[in-house]
Symmetry: C2
Subunit: 197 residues, 2 copies
């Protein structure tokens, strides 16, 4: 095998979820049938990795000073939704009709890994809350141990600035069967049952 | 979301097996934690797609005139193994102690898709057999309908040049359980049973 093909297979393994076999398949696919798409991918990848930085306001990825949402005049600046990652922001943006703005932590509090409030840009978030424009902070961290700890910290921060903290409802997912819902979720959903009006 | 990030997600979908969600995950992974690896991938991909062509002798991918195996002085030119794809060649190279040379069809006979002997370079293969150096042609096409048809065609070609054609043994895979082996394979393995000596 030519060494350039070997290099390509090796380099493809930086992609998450791509091992030796997938990398081989990708490399051969690009060489056989995807040269144009592959060249374009190579260019876009180079440009994106060089030019994409963080939005000055919400820390989401953007190649400009502000991301499209923070720069938009039509978003409601009284509602601020805090998420862990850009993928979470995208999921909320696609699934809900939320018209407010976001703050992307790019991580979660994890003292053992050296990730504290500063690494998540919470000083910047604190300044923003102090400006007084935000009225409600919707905390949409993941329902994991670290996500919950982060949510707790964020709620305290909100209260310090007289901002109302809220979080996503937890419970039984729609379309699931109770039998297959995990115990913790079921117990929580049972305890937080709501009255049928 | 910034448009460059959107472009990157879109471009990643040229990779086989990568849909919208995987592309998102890959893009965010590269931006968050894999910028160096991603830049290198982008460069290697550009170089490979520009410079990798086919080996003049075996049609495998290579950036030179000949691939490493065809250029090697230590391979036995009396044995020629014919495979459908570079991935198949790699699999045989890694699994067996084969010290002969290869011919890579880069496909299989498929008249409905317009893939005939010419598209598979069989004219070149025929010339090579006519030179008289090859004594055995090991046909290692895939055990599919098209692969078998290709094997049949190749065997005839070999006989025309007085070269001995052979093919991989078919049967029950090692380490499997008979219960889970498909009927066709089991029937073939039963019919082709070998005497225990």
């Amino acid at each position: 095998m030519s060494s350039l093909v070997e290099q390509l297979i090796e380099a493809l393994k930086v992609l998450p979820g791509v091992g030796n076999k997938s990398a081989q398949r990708m490399a051969y696919h690009l060489l056989e049938r995807g040269r144009d798409g592959g060249k374009q991918l190579s260019e876009v990848m180079r440009d994106a990795l060089e030019r994409v930085g963080h939005c000055a306001q919400c820390r989401d990825f953007t190649e400009g000073e502000l991301c499209a949402i923070c720069a938009s005049a039509s978003r409601d600046r009284h509602s601020l939704c805090v998420v862990e990652s850009p993928a979470d922001r995208l999921a909320i943006e696609q699934a809900t009709g939320f018209r407010g703005v976001y703050f992307v932590l790019q991580g979660r509090l994890s003292p053992l890994d050296g990730i504290g409030p500063r690494e998540l840009g919470l000083d910047k978030l604190s300044e923003r809350l102090a400006e007084g424009e935000v009225r409600e902070m919707i905390i949409a961290t993941n329902p994991t141990v670290e996500g919950e700890a982060t949510a707790h910290y964020l709620a305290q921060l909100a209260r310090q600035h007289a901002v109302k903290p809220s979080r996503l409802a937890h419970g039984v997912p729609l379309g699931g069967e109770l039998e297959y819902v995990d115990r913790g979720t079921l117990s929580h959903a049972f305890g937080s049952r709501t009255e049928i009006l």
